[in-house]
């Protein structure tokens, strides 16, 4: 099976202070992987390495994807552009014309629940959750085959989250999108991911399929108590 993303023995230090040591991770195509771990263990650093924004000190990061979509932990919106302009900005990387960019940006903002009224607002006029949705729309608008989400839904309420997850599942079914998402929410991970990657400071402690986790859990629950 092809792997859109694979990290082999990756070492990385921030300003000489080791953050990741010998980290291995691979994402099979079309899977959704939840990356979990304590605050400060290096999840965002891993995402930045995976996106090619940082270079590993040792080891290898292999990305085999045509288009990368990324949602940063901080929405990273241009303050002087409207929601529509922000999504359109990312689409410039695809070399599309202006009309096509606007149409795609509009459609994707609509898909994440931001109507024409909100599309014309500047980031400072949007709520925290709306900004996160603009960032998600921006990542999805490029029609990615690999999506990296760093706590993309942390500011959203349950109904909106559910709607966005439905959108992501649909996209995956249609396009075979591979997703790696960072979350601190175990329920979200169990409900939406196929695989869990549990991180300890500096490395991946364990990867397992969610089904295996659930069956291990239920068999333990059902085990005869002697």
């Amino acid at each position: 099976m092809t792997e859109p993303l694979r990290l082999d023995g990756v070492d990385f230090a921030h300003d000489g202070r080791p953050v990741l040591r010998g980290l291995d991770l691979s994402l099979p195509a079309g899977t959704i992987t939840a990356l979990m771990g304590p605050s400060g263990c290096g999840k965002s650093t891993l995402i930045a390495l995976a996106a090619g924004l940082l270079t590993p000190d040792a080891g290898r990061v292999a990305r085999r994807c045509a288009r990368l979509g990324i949602v940063f932990q901080d929405p990273a919106l241009l303050p002087w552009k409207t929601a529509l302009g922000n999504v359109g900005f990312a689409l410039r990387g695809l070399g599309l014309g202006r009309a096509e960019r606007r149409a795609r940006a509009r459609a994707m903002l609509d898909a994440v629940g931001l109507g024409p009224g909100d599309a014309g607002k500047y980031p400072r006029q949007l709520s925290g959750g709306m900004r996160q949705r603009v960032a998600l729309a921006r990542a999805l608008a490029v029609a990615p085959d690999l999506l990296l989400c760093d706590e993309a839904f942390s500011a959203l309420d349950a109904p909106v989250r559910a709607k966005l997850w439905q959108l992501l599942h649909e996209l995956r079914a249609r396009t075979g999108l591979t997703i790696l998402f960072v979350t601190h929410d175990q329920d979200e991970a169990m409900e939406h991911a196929d695989r869990l990657a549990i991180m300890a400071p500096g490395r991946i402690e364990q990867t397992a399929s969610v089904d295996a986790c659930i069956s291990a859990f239920t068999s333990r629950m059902n085990a005869p108590v002697s």
């Binding site: 924004l53 940063f72 241009l78 410039r92």
Partner: protein, 257 residues
């Protein structure tokens, strides 16, 4: 920062009125040769306009100041951006800017008259007097760009041209705007000063002629013209631009980060 309701415009008028009262009082005390009266200056200005002396001078000064300012600001923006992006460039350009800043504008006029003469001396002086201020602001502007935005643009593979036009430039303008506004006003004053010595037309030349004739009323009339232009530029150009920027600027009234 909570925004208070701006005080009434009447205060500005009161300030202006005070200035005019002091002017007239000075006229009464020291006589017309030192300070011509308000009425006399007004009449002289009217005559100058009627004789068609003001409009061409105004156009010429606007041309000199504008051209010098555009040249200086554009060069400084490019150099400042380079210096902001490349530490080597900053090391090389920073001392140049400091040296240029240290040279008084009047020294530039004298040198430029030797080198170019005529109106180009004026344009050059304006450019070289305003550029270093814009340069410093541009360097600071590049440095203050949020690294998160730069990473975002890289992750989405936004081409360099689009990055410059839609990320670096708007960010820079937000930072450089005050320097651009200050230097725009400065360009007028430097231009008038340089014209005074160059004698190649413009308001400065008019001032020089008035001085030669010891025509204080005409001199005051020219001063009024310069001030009127600066006020008009501020009201018609700078303030609307400032308001446009406030549109996206986080002025502390928003929520979140």
């Amino acid at each position: 920062m909570a925004r208070k309701r701006p005080p009434s415009r009447l205060w500005s008028l009161a300030g202006l009125a005070l200035l005019l009262v002091l002017w007239e009082a000075g006229h009464r005390i020291w006589g017309p040769l030192v300070l011509p009266g308000l009425a006399e200056t007004g009449v002289t200005l009217w005559h100058m306009i009627a004789e068609g002396r003001v409009a061409p001078a105004l156009a010429q000064t606007a041309g000199n100041a504008g051209m010098g300012w555009v040249l200086g600001a554009a060069t400084a923006m490019i150099a400042g951006t380079l210096a902001g992006l490349r530490p080597e460039a900053q090391r090389a350009l920073q001392p140049v800017a400091v040296v240029l800043l240290g040279i008084p504008a009047i020294a530039w006029v004298v040198l430029a008259l030797l080198w170019f003469g005529g109106r180009w001396a004026v344009v050059f002086t304006v450019a070289v007097a305003t550029g270093p201020l814009v340069f410093a602001a541009a360097v600071a502007g590049v440095h203050s760009l949020d690294g998160g935005l730069v990473r975002m643009a890289r992750a989405f593979r936004v081409p360099l041209g689009a990055r410059l036009a839609h990320m670096h430039l708007p960010h820079m303008l937000g930072h450089v705007f005050p320097a651009l506004a200050t230097t725009l006003a400065m360009s007028w004053k430097v231009s008038v000063m340089a014209e005074l010595l160059a004698g190649a037309g413009g308001i400065g030349d008019g001032l020089a002629t008035a001085r030669a004739h010891v025509d204080t009323a005409a001199m005051m009339a020219w001063v009024l013209v310069v001030v009127a232009v600066l006020v008009a530029v501020d009201l018609a150009l700078l303030q609307p631009l400032q308001r446009r920027m406030v549109h996206w600027r986080d002025d502390g009234r928003g929520v979140g980060t």
